[in-house]
């Protein structure tokens, strides 16, 4: 596959807020311009053929690449979805629509869903930018007025692209800019055969980004282990007692920061709200200031007890038998 010269990107917004687009501008290594100019020859040749927020043309002209991709005349292309996918059959009941992108030749509206159906048939890969495209996000929050859902629910969990690649979810509200840029570059290198496909977790999130919880990644976890909890906002200790959902959320922001190492939710003193998780923004993540279920801490204590016993035993062993390293 390494002979693929150009890889096109269609960035299609559904029920989106553009937050993931703005967040992509936060990416560092690589950043957006690196992705477009190609920072090494193996990653070069990526063209952004449709992105409504930053492209020069407007109206019909803007959609020419999308129309070509729908007809199979633009290949290969990566479809990046931003925003949730509504249930248009509900809007049709009263003769209307939830989300439209452009018109056909007769001036009839084309829904986002129609475009997604056609593009999914030809896409070389689908990357979901953010929690809305991945899992439905806030538009799908109870009572889900528009029947919003994520791409995996809409296209089917077993959906695979023409290249045999499953949907890759990069959740987060918004998705982390570095997560998106690293995943897109990874996808390009994988399509060209320079990397294996990324290992994904049960929710199709790349393990290299989402294997560990925010709690495991949090600089304050050490203080928690030492029994120090915050009881007021502003305190520098564990935020679990102030509503942090870090123990049940998979995210590396506490460790990585948000923009070039700056920021990070619980690590700065604000509770994690679980924005990378499929149930967000509903319970157990909301109310956001409510505390995460206590059961987690019981299991953690059991594991922690085992870990402490291991740490003590290793030291006794050194003293009794001698150090092997």
């Amino acid at each position: 596959m390494s002979e693929i010269e150009n890889i096109h990107v269609i960035w299609l917004p559904g029920q989106a807020c553009t937050g993931c687009t703005v967040s992509l501008l936060n990416a560092s290594h690589p950043n957006l311009l690196d992705l477009l100019t190609g920072f090494i020859p193996q990653a070069a040749g990526v063209t952004l053929d449709y992105h409504a927020t930053i492209m020069l043309p407007w109206g019909d002209e803007a959609l020419s690449a999308v129309n070509a991709a729908e007809k199979g005349e633009l290949a290969p292309f990566v479809l990046v979805l931003e925003g949730a996918i509504p249930d248009e059959s509900k809007a049709k009941e009263t003769g209307g629509y939830w989300c439209v992108i452009g018109e056909d030749e007769e001036g009839n509206p084309i829904t986002f869903n129609d475009r997604l159906d056609r593009l999914a048939k030809n896409a070389a890969a689908i990357v979901c930018a953010g929690t809305c495209a991945s899992f439905g996000g806030i538009p799908s929050g109870k009572p889900n007025p528009t029947g919003a859902k994520g791409a995996m629910d809409y296209l089917g969990k077993d959906w695979k692209s023409s290249l045999g690649i499953p949907i890759i979810n990069v959740p987060g509200c918004p998705a982390h800019g570095e997560h998106m840029a690293e995943t897109l570059a990874y996808a390009v290198l994988a399509m060209r055969g320079f990397l294996p496909l990324p290992a994904l977790d049960e929710h199709n999130r790349p393990l290299f980004l989402f294997e560990h919880t925010a709690h495991e990644n949090c600089p304050r976890a050490g203080l928690f282990a030492d029994g120090k909890n915050s009881h007021e906002f502003g305190e520098p200790y564990c935020m679990g007692t102030m509503g942090c959902k870090g123990p049940i959320s998979h995210c590396d922001v506490p460790k990585r920061g948000f923009i070039e190492g700056v920021g990070g939710c619980p690590s700065m003193g604000s509770p994690c709200i679980g924005c990378t998780e499929p149930e967000f923004p509903d319970p157990p993540f909301s109310p956001f200031l409510s505390k995460a279920p206590a059961s987690f801490f019981v299991y953690e204590k059991i594991r922690s007890f085992g870990g402490s016993a291991d740490a003590v035993w290793c030291r006794i062993k050194d003293a009794l038998i001698g150090r092997d390293l």
Partner: protein, 570 residues
Amino acid sequence: MVEKKITIEPVTRIEGHLGIHATADMDGKKYTDARSFGTMFRGWEIILQDREPADAIWITQRVCGVCPTPHGIAAAMTVDMAYQAPPPPMGIAVRNLIQGAEQLYDSPLGCLILEGPDYSQAVVEKSNPDWWDAAKITESPKTEFHGFATIADIMTALNPISGALWQKSLAIGKVGRKMAALLGAKHPHVNTLVPGGVAKTLTPTDLEQYAAMLAQHVAFAKEFIPVMDDLLDFVLSMGYSECGARENNMVSFGGYDDPTAYNTNYAEMGDWAKKRSVSPGVIIDGKLKTQDLIEINVGVQEMVESSYFDDWEDVRVNEDPLGNPLTKYHPWNKYTKPHPGAYAKWDGKYSWGTSVRWLDWKGNSELNTVELGPIARMWATAIGKLVPESTGTSLKFALPKATIIPYRNAEAMEFEWKVPEKVNTVERIRARAYYHAYSAYVLYLTVLAGLGLVKDGKAKIWNKYSKAKNGLGVGMHEAMRGGVAHWCIMKDGKIENYQIMAPSTWNSGPKLGESDLGPYEAAVIGSPISEVGEITGLDVVRTIRSFDPCLGCSIQVYSGDKKIVHIPEI
């Protein structure tokens, strides 16, 4: 008359899903009719119902990822009031710093990445060749400050991706969001705003780090404003002053609260809002009608005659907490019933947007069609005489010395934004640029005030509160695109009604009755057709983009009758 109807869908380089249907008079070379229509709906206010009010601080930011922070702040103010949880002064100072950081990123994004390419070589050389010929031989009056010799050089720098100004905006914008992340944990969608203040462990060097990044924006402003002045003055000189013009009717809610004046008392809102660094005000025909934020609040009306919603009958609250009369169209009373309808039905319901007007309830009882935006708040502040920088006809301030490599102008620089004769496409963009410099100035003073609070031992940024069960809240201030306002009715600790009104709700809304057009629509009508060749709607999109549309914001939600709008998950 040779008429041509064009539909531009999607309007790109904006936030969200928007279409414009316009009628062009090809003989008279101008636009004679226009309809603005939002093409996406999600249902935020319905999703907010029955949740804990504090959750609105996180959820409402997600209506828009371009301008989330103002929603977070408006929600925090609304919930502060409903809970009666007043933050300490440092909490307000830090909220201002987070809010302002976003303005610093959002202004160059609007001017140079969203709107700028409409004046780039790539567009102008093809569509306005006469402008391009003139630009090549027009020297930039302020070359010494920005380094571009001719106007054509500035236009070339605005080409997407390859242009120097386009790229610079990308880089400096990131610094703005990084400042927001420093105190807000992340951006977009900051995470540290809570009722009663800010959830951030303030470190001894936070303000210092913030100031170092602010200095980059100070240095940037000293190139950015001169370059925008040169470009925009040139565009005006090409006979463009009628493009996007409409009457000088505007509203500003004011912004950047005084840390020692802000409180959670509705009765005092009119007083503390007057102490903001950006002044509130209703401007009719260029003149101030009122500066009282309570009077402004009571006059807000939202109607759905041309929108995909059904009207409602009930009135929840007859008067505000001071006994001022509220109509059924005031947001506290809004019941919205989403009702998806046919596409492109220009004489009926044609948009997911709504028609918002300001009722002069104390005066002549007229419904005023007003626009919101940087030009409205700069105008209100300049003529308001509530801040020392206001001269009555201009806003005058100076940015301090900042030696930042590789920027050109280290020395302190004076800026003066003068009230223009009329609101039009060019002046909306100019006001957006100047608001960057004014924000940098306000934030510099805020950093100094913050250091003073720390020195005085007042570094506490959050006050403990006990949550009330019932309450009423409102939070009104300025987002980049204009005033943003939230309203909440809390019952038994849960949201009974939550309403979000963004600036683009006012600006992008559909017509009311036969002739009362929304601001986008009115601004397009009368605009000249400057482009040559096949008509693409260039002057229309320039006008629409001068408002810096944010459709995600304007069409979020609408709390409705749950029985009607509840759609079970499938």
